[in-house]
Amino acid sequence: MASLVFLALRGLLRSPARTALVLAGLSVTGALLLDMSMLAGGLQASLGAVLSRLGFAVRVVPRGTLPFSGDVEIPDGVALARAIAARPGVAAAIPVVGTNLYVRAGTRLVPSFALGVPGGGSGAYAVLWGRDLPPGGSSPESGPVPVVVNRLMETLDGVRVGETLLLARSAGPAPAAGGAPEVARVVGVGDFFFDLAAQRSLAIDLRDLRRIQGRPVGGASLILVRMSDPARAEELVRWIDAHAEGADALSIRGFLARAGSRLTYFTQFSLILGTTSLLVSFLLITAIVTLSLGERLGEIAVLRAVGMTRRRIAALVLLEGVALSLASLPGAFSLGLLIGRDLDALLRSAPAVPENLHFFTLTPMAALRTVLLVLGTGTLAGVYPGWVAARLGVAATLHGEVLT
């Protein structure tokens, strides 16, 4: 085996320029394959990483939805959160309401996403500077409602800590159904994790938000659950599904599965293009190995004359295909990561894509899949030329080589 590997590798060096060219071609197709592997589960992997970092093992949403995908709420969400918090293995259950508000800052009227949380320290966002909402929420008598705004509101709208804002449900006169504008004071600036590129967001106490909405406290758009014993997350999911009609409990895995079902375009696209890349690589290696075989029939015949068996000749040619694939991997990965970075930036420029998410994510599985597919293709591509080489008539070939 060692002698075959030695000969196969030396065979690559026979014509360095040509080998370099072939490797360039294989690197490009390998890069495309890597990109498609990254794309296939990239958004889910990226989302999973963000979700895991946030520290919430379970999320409870209105049945059949994803968080903030509509106006539907979990009925009695606040009460459900209290019940969940009492379950074993649960550290905290935070009911959250998400809705759109208009924010008047000076003369500017800015549509914003408002996140209603039960006081500061919820973990639904991270305070960057300033301070968080008061832990127990504010009371109407204590003056302007405290809010934490996101960085975009600070950089694009010039909103500063300490500034006064006016929050309202609509841009025009107050709707007849209730709710009234509220004066708010900015106490801090935070990172809201899933903000879109130009999205303004603010965090506000849940009761203050309900007052602005003109709705009673009780429902929730989402319940975030932090586990003291993460191993019990699935058990909690089952309990919630059994006891809370109108709500779905999602572990991180379940969340990703539900999100994944809405990303079929990328999965199918990556499958089609990945298959095409493999096919091109296969054709390239087969063509190169077969054509280069034609140039050295005499050498093959001599190896057979020296005593190399048909099987070993076939293995030698097969190894050449594998060697080409193997040698192309560094180039494929380097190029693939570069191209993937640019493609990722391109796709992230689409509307409604949160800033922290990526489409092209290099996971160990994506890398392994690429390596195995590339090596497998190289092996398969060597099969036909290997068969041709093994069937070579030694005497006839030697005679033919002399004549030519």
Binding site: R10, G298, V302, A305, V306, M308, R310, R312, V394, V402
Partner: protein, 236 residues
């Protein structure tokens, strides 16, 4: 004619021929009809013999050489190599037989261009599983024997025709074969270099190996111990 294979490990009788061809026929089916390259040729090659097969182009010399070296099989008749009938052996067995007992030298040298002279010589030993230290030692000895040790690290593209053929002879001797077959070894060389090569082959036969050389050059053929003349697929 076929003879039973010798028991494993049993030494060959010193006087028994290395290779025997009995009434061998070799035919090729072509689109225009069947071509008979050999028409019932019989030949024995004893150990230590230096035999030259001479004849005009197309008389079947190379075909006979290929049959003697188990590179090809006869259409009829039998070739017995070291007591074993080649027609009765499978391809793997034939390969092993060639690897350990037959060395080839070709007109076109057929050195692997991506290997150095040293590596070309070592190749059959690698294939035979000779350990690396022993391999290195034998390779250097063989290259020294053919006068190519100073050029051991050079690739074929950096060698002259005569130098390449010397390396090819060293390669043919790599696994200490019983039989060395040289097919027009001087065909690409000038007269003087050709003589040197034939002298080298003569020395090889003095080591006790059978050497069969195909040539169309009567002057070079005269340097052999014995000449066999062929014409139209038969021995004259």
């Amino acid at each position: 004619m076929s003879s039973p294979a010798p028991p494993p490990g049993a030494p060959e009788e010193p006087s028994s021929p290395v290779v025997v061809a009995r009434e061998v026929v070799r035919e090729y089916r072509m689109p225009g009809g069947t071509v008979r390259a050999l028409r019932g040729v019989s030949l024995e090659v004893p150990r230590g013999a230096f035999l030259a097969i001479v004849g005009p182009s197309g008389c079947g010399k190379s075909t006979l050489l290929h049959l003697l070296g188990a590179v090809d099989l006869p259409t009829a008749g039998a070739v017995t190599l070291l007591g074993r009938c080649t027609s009765e052996l499978r391809d793997g067995e034939l390969s092993r037989l060639r690897l350990r007992h037959v060395g080839f030298v070709f007109q076109r040298f057929f050195l692997l261009p991506m290997l150095t002279a040293e590596e070309n010589v070592a190749l059959p030993m690698m294939e035979a599983g000779v350990p690396a230290p022993l391999r290195r030692e034998r390779t250097r000895a063989l290259l020294d024997r053919v006068g190519m040790l100073p050029r051991a690290r050079h690739r074929p593209g950096q060698l002259s025709g005569g130098e390449m053929q010397r390396v090819a002879i060293a390669r043919a001797l790599a696994n200490a074969p019983d039989l060395v077959l040289a097919d027009e070894p001087t065909g690409e060389l000038d007269e003087a270099t050709g003589r040197e090569i034939v002298q080298l082959l003569r020395e090889v036969s003095r080591d006790g190996r059978a050497v069969v050389m195909v040539t169309h050059n009567p002057d070079l053929a005269a340097l052999a111990d014995r000449q066999v003349r062929m014409r139209d697929g038969t021995i004259l």
